[in-house]
């Protein structure tokens, strides 16, 4: 392994720039554009599926103020399970289920990782709505359903949106590890770079992956600020989850 130091470092960064400057690295099935498309598509699919699975039950349980202890346990255990282990662990499971390598083990692992933080943050958001506010709505004659959809849901919306942002960034980060179980995405450049000991490829891949994660964080943060009324914005504190 050649190590870059001093002048070597400048030369190395020049090589990285040259790699990005080569059109061959951008096009085709193994090019940057296709890897980026794979990465974004899987991230969107896994985050969407996780929100469908996590948010409705969390809204209902939060509305009923049921299962608080369970939620705390999920947060703690979720944090303790390494995402690297989950991605690798889903590979033999997927093979034995006949789903093969690549897409399915990565998708299932991402789903498994994204559901708990979305569930807990949504739950906390709804259950954390001021009880006096809920009492007042009931006093005004709102039905149970109206309390949830007209009071609790809007009040909790900043927390839920923040939960979706945190989960999306986490899923995009963890999707990098999909390259270890035969999937594509931007992690491919880093993992292939490691296996052929090509530091330029490793570094270029790291730039792409980090760039995407930071871009998503900034983009979704911006969307949040546009959507959430300023009076509610201070409420958007969520339980940050594990980085992949």
């Amino acid at each position: 392994m050649v190590q870059a130091k001093g002048n070597g470092m400048i030369e190395f960064l020049g090589d990285v720039l040259a790699w990005f400057g080569n059109p061959d690295n951008w096009i085709g099935p193994t090019g940057i554009l296709n890897r980026l498309r794979e990465h974004v598509q899987l991230t969107a699919a896994a985050t969407f599926a996780a929100s469908i699975l996590a948010i409705p039950p969390a809204l209902w349980l939060g509305h009923r103020r049921l299962g608080g202890t369970f939620v705390v346990a999920v947060v703690n255990i979720g944090r303790a399970i390494p995402s690297f282990a989950i991605v690798v662990l889903f590979l033999p499971i997927s093979i034995r289920l006949g789903l093969g390598i690549g897409f399915w083990p990565t998708f299932l692992a991402l789903l498994f990782l994204a559901v708990p933080p979305m569930f807990t943050n949504t739950y906390t958001g709804v259950a954390g709505v001021d009880p006096e506010l809920v009492e007042a709505s009931r006093g005004m004659g709102m039905t149970d359903r109206e309390v949830l959809t007209k009071v609790e849901l809007p009040m909790a919306s900043p927390v839920i949106l923040a939960a979706v942002r945190v989960a999306t960034v986490q899923v995009a980060a963890t999707a990098t590890l999909g390259a270890l179980v035969g999937w594509g995405g931007l992690g491919r450049f880093i993992v292939d770079g490691f296996s052929v000991r090509d530091n330029v490829l490793v570094f270029a891949g790291a730039l792409l992956v980090a760039g995407l994660a930071l871009f998503l964080e900034v983009l979704l943060g911006w969307v949040e600020r546009q959507v959430v009324p300023t009076t509610l914005q201070s409420r958007s504190e969520v339980v940050e989850s594990v980085v992949a």
Binding site: R79, R96, V202, L207
Partner: protein, 228 residues
């Protein structure tokens, strides 16, 4: 599910576990070492940066902005950035691991010290505490529950991230997960993945409980308040 049931006899090998207890122990110790170094170094840096942030308020925003960027970079990418500079070394692993602890620790230290009641600080000043004395004997101890809550999150997160460092030749228990990956079609492989995962999770739970115990011992006043 039928596939799974049929194949499951070849999924886990207790023989492998009993024949490799020494290896499992060695990697567990290495895992703990990598974690302890990362959290201790992270704590020292975070304390220093928090003192700066508390003394000069305007620095808090750029400090959390920068550590927030570090926190957002996916771990594999962060390690990949460092490999061309520091190689496949323990140093690379530790720089990455320490980077991830900073945001959580700084936020909790600053929030903890901000949470000390003004009246308490005023009384301590009235009693003649110097700035330094006030910080070490009043503010820091009273902020301890919040700071330890931060250390718990940082420690548990780090234990998980140590497994990823297997990809750069370190990894503690991640070593088993990575080796299992290369033997994926054999029970020897799946066994190693399960062992690496289960021991790592158990370690995280044990460390978390230990820190809860330490907090209990270190803040006797909050215990008395709880029983009163």
């Amino acid at each position: 599910m039928i596939h799974l049931a049929q194949a499951s006899e070849g999924f886990f090998s207790w023989d492998w576990v009993f024949n490799h207890l020494d290896d499992i122990w060695d990697q567990t110790v290495e895992h703990i070492m990598l974690t302890v170094i990362a959290v201790v170094v992270g704590l020292v840096i975070s304390l220093a940066l928090s003192v700066v942030a508390l003394r000069y308020r305007w620095t808090y925003s750029p400090i959390t902005w920068f550590t927030g960027i570090l926190y957002t970079i996916p771990s594999l990418a962060l390690f990949a950035f460092l490999v061309p500079i520091t190689g496949l070394s323990v140093l690379t692993a530790e720089i990455g691991l320490v980077s991830y602890t900073l945001l959580i620790l700084i936020r909790n230290i600053v929030a903890g010290i901000d949470g000390v009641p003004d009246a308490t600080v005023e009384s301590a000043r009235g009693m003649g505490y110097t700035k330094r004395g006030l910080f070490f004997s009043v503010e820091l101890p009273l902020a301890l529950p919040v700071i330890i809550a931060g250390i718990r999150i940082a420690a548990v997160t780090t234990i998980g991230l140590v497994t990823v460092t297997a990809l750069i030749g370190q990894g503690g228990l991640g070593f088993f997960i990575l080796r299992g990956l290369s033997l994926i079609y054999s029970p020897i492989g799946t066994t190693q993945i399960v062992v690496g995962t289960v021991v790592s999770v158990a370690l995280a739970v044990a460390v978390d409980l230990t820190l809860v115990g330490i907090q209990h011992l270190a803040t006797p006043w909050s215990r008395r308040r709880a029983t009163a």
